[in-house]
């Protein structure tokens, strides 16, 4: 070896030894001192700009203030969040890697894809619930349709747009039409925006989309809300009945929660819960919820697990009962 490569080798060796921690090893395991100055990474299983992403970023801001460390949002889109969930499961359970988990991934996706392609709640610890996002059945204002009965009176097959296979949008409408005995064809689109566009343009009769995406159009008078799929009347649409009020048992909501890898020490979970709790109280976050028509669901991990497990069981039962095929193998 000549002298230059030897020097190079020494330099690289020195750098390697000098490099400590970085982004690979994670912080010390001392739970009592959590977060111990190390940053926290929050996975989001969706593309940037969507509701889940915005919620994550709003919370990351606040939590970062509270814990005094950087809280970074990392988008890892794919398979409705299943890819991000898989990565989360492989991370050290020290509270430095979290995920904003979508409810639909937990209680609808398993009904729509093959076994093993959707995560199992039992493999994760849950820190806290965040909020709920309701679905609303809408139609273009010029269609003249106002109630579910109007749809029945159409006398022909109703076409309904969904935001994709295995989504709350599909589930809510399939259940509604099955119970109402209305002959309907699902037309899946790729997300909320194309579905909204199709409904606005009258390409499909109705569509079920998340409230935050539809509310501007409703207020502008371009969309007519028919029913919402919440448990109780949604405060943002006081004049729109719920499907339940209209006589159909179809409670379907999107929900979000903070997940951690299984085995995270309870003291760490406790610190995180407190931090998120303060975040929920912050004025800017509350305003964020209002601006995006989100309903808080700030329950503790245990309650949330019960909520979501119940939802999964309920949906499994009703889809079987009405012979609804959400797609894939079940």
């Amino acid at each position: 070896m000549t002298s230059t490569p030897r020097a190079l080798f020494a330099l690289v060796l020195a750098l390697t030894l000098a490099g400590c921690g970085g982004n690979l090893g994670g912080g010390s395991g001392d739970a009592a001192a959590f977060p111990d100055g190390d940053p926290i990474t929050v996975y989001v299983g969706q593309d940037p700009g969507g509701s889940t992403d915005l919620i994550a970023r709003a919370l990351a801001e606040q939590v970062s203030h509270d814990l005094g460390v950087a809280v970074v949002v990392e988008n890892k889109p794919g398979a409705n969040g299943a890819l991000a969930a898989r990565e989360l499961a492989g991370k050290k359970p020290d509270g430095h890697t979290l995920m904003i988990f979508n409810g639909s991934l937990a209680y609808i996706t398993p009904l729509a894809v093959a076994a093993g392609q959707a995560p199992d709640l039992a493999d994760y610890d849950i820190v806290t619930g965040i909020s709920q996002d309701d679905y609303v059945l809408v139609t273009t204002a010029t269609s003249g349709l106002k109630t579910v009965d109007d749809l029945e009176d159409l006398g022909r097959t109703v076409t309904f747009g969904t935001t994709g296979v295995g989504t709350g949008s599909q589930l809510s409408q399939e259940l509604l039409f099955a119970q109402a005995g209305i002959d309907a064809t699902a037309v899946p689109f790729d997300g909320g925006s194309p579905t909204l566009t199709a409904v606005l343009g009258g390409q499909v009769d109705v569509g079920s989309i998340q409230l935050g995406e539809a509310v501007e159009q409703i207020e502008a008078g371009r969309l007519t809300p028919i029913v919402t799929f919440a448990q109780e009347r949604v405060s943002y649409l006081p004049r729109t009945p719920t499907a339940i009020e209209a006589g159909y048992d179809v409670p379907v909501q999107q929900s979000r929660a903070v997940f951690a890898p299984k085995g995270t020490p309870s003291s760490v979970i406790g610190s995180l819960e407190k931090a998120f709790g303060s975040a929920f109280e912050a004025g800017t976050y509350r305003a964020f919820n209002r601006d995006n028509q989100l309903t808080p669901n700030e329950v503790d991990g245990k309650t949330l697990r019960t909520q979501w497990t119940q939802s999964l069981d309920t949906y499994r039962a009703v889809t079987r009962e009405h012979r609804i095929d959400l797609g894939g193998e079940q």
């Binding site: 593309d47 940037p48 700009g49 969507g50 992403d53 915005l54 970023r57 709003a58 801001e61 990392e74 988008n75 890892k76 889109p77 794919g78 398979a79 299943a82 890819l83 898989r86 729509a112 894809v113 093959a114 392609q117 097959t157 076409t159 994709g164 296979v165 295995g166 064809t185 699902a186 037309v187 899946p188 689109f189 790729d190 925006s193 194309p194 909204l196 566009t197 199709a198 606005l200 343009g201 009258g202 390409q203 499909v204 935050g212 509310v215 501007e216 159009q217 207020e219 502008a220 371009r222 305003a287 964020f288 601006d291 995006n292 959400l326 797609g327 894939g328």
Partner: protein, 497 residues
Amino acid sequence: MDIGPVIDGFGVVLEPANLLYCLIGVVIGMLVGVLPGLGPAATIAILLPVTFEIEAVGAVIMLAGIFYGAQYGGTITSVLLKLPGEASSVVTVFDGHALARQGRAGTALGIAAVGSFVGGTVSVVAMSVLAPVVAGFALDFGPPEYTALALLGILLVSTVAGGGRLKALIAACLGLLLAVVGRDAFTGGERFTFGSLDLADGLDFVPIAMGLFGLGEILHSLEQRHRAVHAPVAVHDVWPSRADLRQSSGAIGRGSVLGFVLGILPGGGAVMASLAAYALEKRRSPHPERFGQGAVEGVAAPETANNAAATSSFIPLLTLGIPANATMAVIFGALLVQGVAPGPQLVEENPELFWGVVNSMYVGNVLLLIMSIPLVGLFVRVLRVRPAVLAPITVLITLVGAYTVNNSTFDIALVVAFGALGYLMKKLGLEPGPLVLAFVLGTLLEDSLRRSLLLFGGDPTGFVTRPISGVLLAAFVVVALLPLARGRRREPVDQVR
């Protein structure tokens, strides 16, 4: 139309703070466009926290600048390194890189700059005047119309490929096949994913394009290097000549209109626009064989069209509150965080924001043009670097860039796999252009076709009875038959050598 708010909008833009944001956005955008893999959507997401501190108008001005700045940055790597960063830059590769290999990279980049400027500006003017009218038009575009459009696109793909027809068709079919991989959008069933969760959402355009074009080219040149002395290509010019500009003027004009119209359509505007503009020029030209060998119109047309389309894609967001593509979705999110809800009432409730953003695009386009004058000379120097040094740097940037698409190492493996495929294809005389374009259009075609059939209840006559799709299908037939009619007329010319 009430001129008052429009003038006020200019007042907003010319505030020093907003001018600065515009400049920052456009510069970042250009840099981001140059980096393969990292797209404007991801960049905007990264910068979101920064925008919380800025006022809404300034934030959107900056983010908009990033978006159309990135279109121009993508051109740079297409021309110099044969590496398209976005789907809308693929078509630029054909003639842009050919020009670079002839030592005329400056011409290519310069024409692209001029075309982009004109296309963007025409689009903004049209937007200012026509936005509400045109937004309604976008809503009339349903699945049947998209089907017809996609059919037209696939037809055009076979036109633009140089070289053997048969091999171009094979490449296109491979592209269609790759588009099928993933979950079926209608039943949720996996297709050709072999159980892999990473493939469940299908393949992304970026790793495929970067692998086939960039890495494939580099791997191939490894083979050549020892058998020829490769002097770096001497650069003959840094700006297009007056003759070049004159020659491209028609292409630029037509590209602007085409780009504006197609950009309004949610989901797919810019790619179709660049493809259609290129194909139009090639078909109109009395010497179509020049295309693919370094025809300036071959760069002017797609570049003008994709910038025009990028600008008009703001229309659905600003007038309807519906984001037309991934970048618009992030900008939508940024606005929501600022407490501005984009929707049909944005123009009335927030005219300074609406017009401030629209008018900032004039400024942004001017800034890009001014900046490109010295920068073209700089970028062109990249070609003077020894290939032995340029190659590994490009490889590394490509591999790291692949990671940034989805923050996943799987995409790195994908880009390498496609690099191998790109090398093999080059050896076998298959061109990557048709494959990549068919890949992009294939999903649109199949999904739109199946949606249309669901809407029609299985009855295909609906395609013809709906006015817009009927017109488009007629255009499809005309365009398909055109070469047959012209072929007989053009034979004598083709034989002149």
